[in-house]
Amino acid sequence: MLFYSFFKSLVGKDVVVELKNDLSICGTLHSVDQFLNIKFTDITVTDPDKYPHMLSVKNCFIRGSVVRYVQLPADECDTQLLQDAARKEAAQNRQR
């Protein structure tokens, strides 16, 4: 649930997603779900010549299982907060 919460805090920000099929998509994060499926608004494909079929698509839904990386600008991400949250989550998991 940690990364679900983390992505929820990033809703509205611009991120780049690299998929396992090597497609890179830049867009505004609209929403995310527990499977880390992502919905984007206003997408641009970073390399449109290789992938022409997305030319008339503005919003998309990306299945979480096909994401390789999510690239975010460093200033949108509080690493201290993430570390603390991860520690707390690890502690909870150990308790269970």
Binding site: V11, L19, N21, L23, S31, Q34, P52, H53, S56, S65
Partner: protein
Amino acid sequence: MNYLPGTASLVEEIDKKLLVVLRDGRTLIGYLRSIDQFANLVLHRTIERIHVGKKYGDIPRGIFVVRGENVVLLGEIDLENENNPQLEEVPIDDILEMQREEQIQKQQEEERKKKSMLERGLQPHSELHDDLF
């Protein structure tokens, strides 16, 4: 997932004309009629669109049930932008021919790369293909 604000859901995409990219590289375009928690989809009035360079061809497919694990992404087609001036539609037989040629070219390219790697004493890298992550 039932009613949390900011949650990604496919419910809002129902009855919309969507572009679906599959793991094997295929592109389907159809009206989304049904979904479930695995992102299994039922597409209505589906066409398979094949792209080669700046040209494309459509094959009508009818009703498709897509297993969620094969879905890469679903894109909402912007109906104003849909008839793109940059892309040219060609008849199905032509695009299939072009696709076949593109496949042959890619295979030849792969063969050349494999050969030159072996010549240099390197193992040709067996890259995991699009399907099967």
